[in-house]
């Protein structure tokens, strides 16, 4: 069925956007540790802007706006860029919070042991940060999934677009949109379950992540 094919696109957009968001968020969080004044100003501005702008508005700027500046971006890239930039801002905040929750004594102990800053970051801060960020990451992933229907506005044939043409064709909107809701919920549950399996595998007693 067309919806199933659409679901494939939805999942694709979601995964690509999550990856983009994680990469951007991690980069921002790491850069924020450098505590270089111009950089932290830039980061603050980035966080503020991309947490304030609605997804749809940014998507329209990227997809419909940039071409009038001579920059043409394909629909899929535009969608992933939009969601990546926005969720990157939220994830940066989550990662930053998790990093500041790492016990300072442990970092000091790593230094006292003879580790470089890079080593203590890689072996102590990063592993703890990721574990503490899991609930935040699940939230962000959920947000991304829920914004993917916007992809239809730029012509990506994901669930919503398929559903709309199907509804126009069959005039059975109620059933079709209900089915769409259920498909989304299934995808959501599936991903949360995957996250949980992942989380369980890396769970460490005493590293709270509520």
């Amino acid at each position: 069925m067309a919806l199933a094919k659409g679901a494939g696109y939805t999942i694709l957009v979601t995964i690509a956007s999550v990856c983009a968001g994680l990469a951007i968020g991690l980069l921002m969080a790491v850069l924020s540790r450098l505590q270089w004044k111009p950089l932290s100003l830039f980061l603050a501005a980035y966080l503020y802007v991309f947490r304030s702008i609605p997804v749809l508005v940014l998507l329209f700027i990227v997809f419909f706006g940039l071409p009038s500046m001579g920059i043409r971006i394909p629909p899929f890239t535009a969608m992933v860029l939009t969601l990546g930039l926005i969720s990157g801002a939220y994830l940066a905040e989550i990662f930053r919070g998790a990093m500041s929750a790492v016990d300072r004594d442990e970092i000091l102990a790593a230094e006292a042991m003879g580790m470089s800053r890079m080593q203590s970051f890689l072996y102590i801060i990063l592993p703890q940060m990721f574990r503490m960020s899991i609930p935040g990451m699940i939230n962000e992933f959920t947000s991304i999934l829920k914004y993917t229907p916007f992809a239809y506005t730029v012509g990506i044939p994901e669930i919503m677009k398929e559903a709309m043409s199907l509804a126009a064709l069959t005039l059975r909107g109620v059933e079709i949109y209900l089915a769409v809701g259920i498909i989304y919920f299934a995808i959501y549950k599936l991903f949360v379950m995957l996250f949980m399996v992942f989380e369980k595998k890396f769970r460490v007693p005493g590293l709270a992540h509520e």
Binding site: D105, E106, G114, M115, V204, P205, G206, L207
Partner: protein, 245 residues
């Protein structure tokens, strides 16, 4: 020649003089305890000695080399000085065993097998082998501190620094940890240990350095320092801590 020789060590934070010219010597196989009132600069001194804090002036001669000079390999130096913290500072995301092997693998570049073997050997010495797969959160305070001591010792440091290793423990656990450190003392491990606890001090030291307001005011064996010391600052301190127990 002494393993560690501290000459006229001064540390100022902004304009606050915390250490005002400390002189201490530590030979190989010797164990010294540093005592003194809260805030007199004990932790600051210990941290200056492995350059966790940059000293303001003075000389720190470690293995014949002044480590306050520029160009010293700070990371190599720290690998040669074990450090045990008051609040254990075990890595929460690593098991007991991995806490011990991390430094061996990443800093000493040992193979995983060699590191594990070494870790198990060292954990055996403090009776923690059976707990090797547990995480720090699953251990008692005494167990945590024993692991922290092993983590430091496994690197085969030339000297072991301990900053109030029993202050965060209840009496039962304190005894546990004192026993372990006493064993190290009897094995002639070179140690420099900061503590408030006269009981610990007595059982693990060749001599005790007494610090007051950033200067060494006395250095002697426990028996002579604890009771009726001629210096009123020393006498006053031990009257309060020993009577208190």
């Amino acid at each position: 020649m002494a393993l560690l020789e501290v000459k006229n060590l001064v540390k100022k934070f902004d304009d606050k003089d915390v250490l005002k010219g400390i002189n201490v010597e530590l030979s190989e196989g010797q164990s010294k305890v540093v005592m003194g009132g809260s805030g007199c600069g004990k932790s600051t001194m210990l941290r200056c000695l492995n350059l966790l804090i940059q000293p303001t002036s003075g000389e720190i001669i470690f293995k014949g080399e002044d480590i306050t000079r520029p160009g010293v390999d700070v990371r190599k130096l720290r690998q040669d000085i074990g450090f045990v913290f008051q609040h254990f500072a075990l890595y929460r995301h690593l098991t007991v065993q991995d806490n011990v092997t991390l430094g061996l693998r990443k800093l000493k570049k040992m193979s995983a097998n060699d590191a594990t073997e070494k870790a198990l050997y060292e954990l055996e010495r403090v009776d923690m082998v059976e707990h090797r797969h547990k995480y720090p959160a699953q251990l008692s305070g005494g167990q945590k501190q024993r692991v922290a001591i092993v983590r430091a010792l496994a690197m085969d440091p030339a000297v072991l620094f301990l900053d109030e290793p029993t202050s965060a423990l209840d009496p039962q656990m304190t005894r546990e940890v004192v026993t372990v450190i006493n064993k190290l003392f009897l094995d002639n491990i070179t140690m420099l240990c900061v503590t408030h606890d006269p009981f610990l001090a007595k059982y693990i030291s060749d001599s005790i350095v007494f610090l007051d307001k950033g200067v060494v005011v006395a250095e002697d064996i426990a028996e002579r320092l604890f009771y009726d010391h001629p210096d009123p600052r020393v006498r006053h301190f031990f009257l309060s801590v020993i009577d208190h127990r």
